[in-house]
Every structure is written in C-alpha cells, then in structure tokens.
Symmetry: C2
Subunit: 416 residues, 2 copies
C-alpha cells in the first residue's frame, strides 16, 4: 500500500481543516512537494517557485519540460467582474504553485458541494509549476474602461509574409502559461483556472507542449526541436543580468507605468511539415539551420557555443548560408535585438493524410515587441530558408504585468 | 557548455562509424541512457527494456508515464511488402528501445541523403521506451492471404449502449503503442516508425497521453485520472503470476497458435465531460465511483487496497451504490473476468465552447476479449452511473503477437 504510508498530503490536511470530512487514518501533514520527491527520488519534482514577487515566475525561471497554455475571451464587460476574476486567479495560482489544492475546502468536503479542487494533482509534487498571466490587446477595447491604459508596446502584430493564421488560434483577452515538469500538474492548473473563470471567461484556444525547446539558465542542456536540431543555443538566459534587464523586463518610464517589471509575450503556433523535412538531405537541413545537426555547432566551425562566423567561407561560398535561420535570427543581424525564448514541441494528433500535426509552439518574452519580435520575424518571414518547412497557424501577443504583491492580485496596477 | 563535456552519445558514435562525417571533437562513446541519467540524476531515465523476448514489452512492463499510440492503414495488398514493413519496424524498434538511433547512418551522414533518424531524441536517455505492435481485424481480410489465420478471439467489437464512435477514431490494420517516461522519446518512436512505413502504411488515428492511469507493478503508486480519482487500484499487476498467465497471455492451444505468448489489446478513446463532472457534489462523485476521492478507499470502508464489501450498508442503502463503477467493473461481478489496464489521461486542446477535449485513452490487455473486455464493457455500458460523464468516441482491437526472436520479426509466426 505505497500511497498509505506517507501520511496525508498538505492538500488533504487543509481539506480536513476546512470542513466535515469522510476520510480516516490521518497522519501528520507534510509538504506535498518534499514528500513526493522523497517518494520518487526525483529532485526536480520538489522544485517550487514563489508566485508573488517583483516579476512573474515562468519567464526567467529555468524552463520546465511541459506546457499547458490557454488564451481566454472575457465573457462580460464588467470591470469589477474582471478584477474579481484576476483576484480569484491570483489566489488559486499562489496556492497551486506552492503545492496546495485550490480553495480551502480542497477535495474532502463539504460533502454536498462540488470539491474546490478537481483532484488529479492531489498526490503529485509541485514539479516546478509556474503560472504566468498576460493581457491581450483586445482587453484594452472599451469594455473595461482600459482603452487609455494600453501600452504602446502592446501592438497588434502585423501580417508577416507567409502567415497562414487560423482565426480560432489567434488572439485572446487574457492568457495563462502553465509550465511544470509534470504535464498533469500543468493541465490541472489550466483546468482549475478555467473552472474558476466559468461564466466570466472561457478558453479561446489552448496548447499542450510536451518538450521544451529552449534553455533559460546556463545549467540546462540545450534541447532539440522536431527538426531534430538543438534549439535556443543563443537564447537569453537568466544569468545574463544586464541583457535580461535591458531586453526582457519593462523598465520604469517605458510608457505604461503599470507594466514596470513586466514583459511582453509573443506566442506563435508553428506547424512543421516534418514529412518534407525528413526527406531533405542532411546537407540541406544544415544549410537551412546554419548549424550541424549532431552537435549544434555553427557551420563556420567550433562547437555548440562557438559564436557563428558569418564571414567564413567554405569552397568559395559562405559557410553559413545567407538565408540560414541562425544568420537571420542572430542579434548581430538584427541591431542587437534579442528574445528570451521559452517554446515547446507539440504533436496534436494527425491529419486525414496520416501526417502528424506537429511543430513548435513558440513563446518569447521581451521588453518591447516593436523593436524585438516584430523586426526579427519580418526578416525571417521574408528570407528564412526554413520557411519552406514551416507554417505559422496561430499567434498571440500579451502584456505580462509584473509579479503580484501578497494581498493584491496580478495586474492590480492596471486598475488603479 | 554542458552538452559538450559528456563525450559523444552512442548514437553519435554509430553515426561516425557509418559514414563520412562532419562533426569534430569526438570523445569516448558511452551508453546513451546511462550517460543521460548521470546528467539528470533521474534513475528512471536510464530504464531500458529488451525488445526481443517471449512476450512483447509494454504490457506487464511497469507502466511508463507518457504514451504515443498510432493506428495504421496498410496501403498496398502485397504480403511480401507487409512482411518487409514488419521486418523494418522490428529492426528500428529494437534499436530505439536500446537507446540507439534508427539506422546505421544515424544522423551524421551520408551528407547528401536524408538522415536515417529524425534526431529529436538524439541526446535523450532511453527513458524506459517500449514499442508494442498489434494486428487489427481488418488485416485478416483477403488482401494478404491471412483470412484463415484470424484468431477467433480477435472479434469485431460489438456496439455498446451509448457508443458515440467517430469513424476516423476507430479500427486500423496495425497499431503501435510507444510508452516512455519522456514524451519526446515516445513521439520520436512513432514519428520514425511512421516514416519507415511511408508508402506502405499511414497513420489512421493517433493519440498522445500525458499521464498514466494505471499501475502495472506493485511498486508503482496508483495514479489519478481526470475525474480526480485514483484509477486502477484493483488492476492486474506483473507480480500476479498465475493471474497474468491465466488472463493476460494467450496459452498454447487457445485457437491461433501464432498468438501463443501474445495478448489482445482493446483501446477506447473516452471523452470525459469534465465541466459537468466538476459541478457534481463530492457525494455524487463518490457514489458514481464507489470509492472515496481523497484516499481511493471503497465506500464500504478501509483504505485503498481494502477489498470492497458490496453487501455493506450505510443508512439503509448499499454503501457502494448498485450502479457504481467499482461494483460493475469488479471481477466478482463479472465471473472473475479481469483486465490488465494500461491507459492514459489525454487533453486534445479545446472545443468551440472553450471546454477542454479531455479524457481517458483506455488500453487493456487480456487473453480473450470475448470473455473479458466485451462482457465487462456490456455491463458498464448498460448500467454504470459514470456514463453520464463519459462518451466513447474511439475504439480499437488488436492481436498483439508474442515477442520477436532476435533475427526474426514481430508476428513472424503469422506468416509461416
């Protein structure tokens, strides 16, 4: 009886404290994450990040392995109700990221009401869960009296060459990014936050991601995307102090004061035509990427973290192709513009022809999309050799406010 | 440079041995799984199961955490081509489950041909990958000269009360179940096997599962399904020697000799109407399941692994409702029929109303569906209180042949 011998989880204990209870055999409560980590022997399972703070977690946090992302439409037009939703979301997010169940009643009672928490993460460690909230451009229309507060940096993304966006995968008033090393913990977060929003906001589109495609700390090994190449070798990392401060966080005096300490999230659902890619020669694949497949080294030589030498030649040709992804996306080719990328591989089943619906759910954080994502993507959309194997089908841009203070709610400064 | 210091993976080494190579800085090759496990500190990452053997792996194997399952239609009608496909699949599966890349050329060359392996699992540990092959009823039509070899136990599943099957999610000539503790490793397996099948078979339907809902060994903690309840408490486990032999593996003399040592797989894609479930009182949820939500104990008392007492009463009513899932599915209510369940939680995005497309991808193994899955499901379909919250939308049945012998291919006895 392996699940019986560990005492009752913190969730269980809170439930017992809350209301009349059915269960019996109550042991001494222990922290859920620590307990579960001890049981599984996996140190990552115990990881836990604070919800409250100067910045929201889930940006420079070491990228977790799994993602559930959701974009929401707000149903009503009441400013008070929107504030109520954000308050409820904040409270639930703070509990879940601390390894606790949603609501004081937890799952044990009261017996004649629906449980506060849906329960599927009840025995699971926190697994590094972060929950990150964002506000889309449409939130700043005239419904909530926020139109004068829209940050200039929260642009409507322009049409990019080759865009094949599907309306049902674009936009949204609000977004939630839930990341965890256990997908069930991330799914539990989105499900419960969606449930809390019932009647106030509903999911517009959502995305599961099974594998991270970026490292956001130096300690993380560079992962591979579904092209089979290492991705994010040159990504901004949490340790890059001045770069993070200059390019990721919104500073005071940057236009919208309520965004100070926040960041801007751009998401792009990018389908890969992997069957076509898989028939391309290794030479072509490396030309397109500009790096070697085995090691991720620039085609100009060296190892993974060697800086690409765009002037290098090989057999009289540029060693790194003029249209290669690494060249076109590189900061030196974009007036120094960088992004903190935090994307995920996805597979959404298959199409009628038996091809996997697979690709990259791109997420990037930045201080100002006007000088970062937009010009970089303009350059890529027009010139990237990789476009032959890609199709952008979904898109979102969200203002991610700074972290909430305990006792307040996420985005509070927007409403003051 | 964390990825540089560990030497070249076994995959890389094989690639180097195979052909002219671009990479440099070659270290001493080491086993991929062991190497990666050392890097991550996660012992589960190193787990590796043999592909060849008396039985296929992925049945009594300790249920891994993640799933990618695919059903295939065979394109042609050539018996030789079908044998060729199974031979190629066997070879690739044996390599991948051993932590090796597909094909001798691996990903480093030859440079002017597509890589043999798509590469996204190149740096990942084996993570307990198992690949399990099955043959659907339609394989035994007149295309391949197999009609006389169809086992009587490989029935066409009958219509069950309440079935809401979608044609595109039903059936298939062949199936592959890939399970791993790393979803990218499972996805890599299905992707590469699908690629190998190009022109010979194509995916009919496929399913990712992010969380196991059964334990198949006594050492595993019972997981929770998306109803938030522990699932599979009474499941058959690998340690149940006689029960496994009597109820899971096909014995000699059971009708189709080529299936001796095999098993029958039934899959059901079961959508849960989780929004409705989440609005049900805890009392109703526990009535429907017949167990407590917190601990998974039978409503008749005790703890998780206490046997349910179906005669017990509480306030003059049966403690375990007459229509509860645990009662209707229990072996004592089904002439002793049992299943080895090996299902997974899934979320496939959301619908137009913003509800998560979520549920359980049910997988069960058994010696004979005629006396196991079919009568159990008949009883459940007609009476289970849980039906109010379920919709069966996909279905499959497959004969899973015994394990392949080294030098042969999976299912070889069917063709002899």
């Amino acid at each position: 009886m392996p699940t019986e011998s560990k005492g009752l989880s913190r969730r269980g204990l809170l439930g017992l404290a809350g209301a009349g209870v059915v269960g019996a055999g109550v042991g001494i409560g222990a922290d859920r994450a620590v307990m579960a980590s001890a049981a599984t022997g996996d140190p990552a399972a115990a990881a836990s990040y604070p919800f409250y703070g100067a910045h929201q977690s889930g940006i420079t946090t070491a990228a977790q392995n799994r993602l559930h992302f959701a974009s929401y439409d707000v149903s009503g037009s009441s400013r008070a109700e929107l504030i109520g939703l954000l308050t409820d979301w904040t409270s639930a997010a703070a509990r879940m990221t601390a390894g606790r169940a949603v609501g004081e009643g937890a799952t044990e009672g009261p017996y004649d009401a629906p449980p506060d928490d849906t329960g599927e993460a009840l025995d699971l460690p926190t697994s590094g869960l972060t929950i990150t909230f964002g506000f889309g451009p449409s939130l700043f229309d005239d419904r909530f009296g926020l139109s004068s507060r829209r940050p200039a940096a929260l642009v409507d993304l322009p049409h990019f060459s080759g865009d094949a966006l599907e309306e049902s995968l674009v936009g949204g008033d609000l977004c939630i990014q839930a990341c965890s090393d256990d997908p069930q913990v991330a799914v539990h977060a989105i499900r419960n936050l969606s449930r809390i929003a019932f009647g106030r906001a509903s999911i517009r589109w959502s995305q599961l991601g099974f594998g991270r495609t970026s490292s956001t700390t130096r300690a993380q090994v560079t992962p591979r995307n579904l092209f089979g190449f290492k991705d994010g070798t040159a990504n901004v990392r949490a340790e890059d102090g001045a770069i993070v401060d200059d390019h990721i966080w919104v500073p005071a005096g940057d236009g919208a004061e309520w965004m100070t300490g926040g960041s801007y999230l751009v998401s792009r659902k990018i389908r890969m035509t992997i069957e076509t890619w898989d028939r391309a020669a290794l030479r072509e694949q490396e030309r397109v990427v500009g790096r070697t497949k085995s090691q991720g080294a620039p085609r100009s030589g060296g190892t993974e973290f060697t800086e690409p030498d765009f002037a290098a030649e090989q057999d009289g040709e540029p060693a790194i192709d003029a249209h290669s992804h690494v060249r076109l996306a590189h900061p030196t080719q974009n007036d120094g513009a960088v992004l903190l990328r935090r994307g995920y591989n996805f597979v959404d089943g298959n199409d009628d022809l038996g091809r996997l619906n697979a690709g990259l759910f791109f997420i990037a954080f930045q201080r100002d999309p006007r000088t970062q994502f937009v010009p970089i993507q303009r350059k890529l959309a027009g010139n990237d050799a990789m476009n032959e194997y890609l199709r952008h089908v979904g898109s979102g841009i969200f203002a991610v406010p700074p972290g909430a203070r305990e006792g307040s709610f996420v985005g509070a400064a927007l409403f003051s």
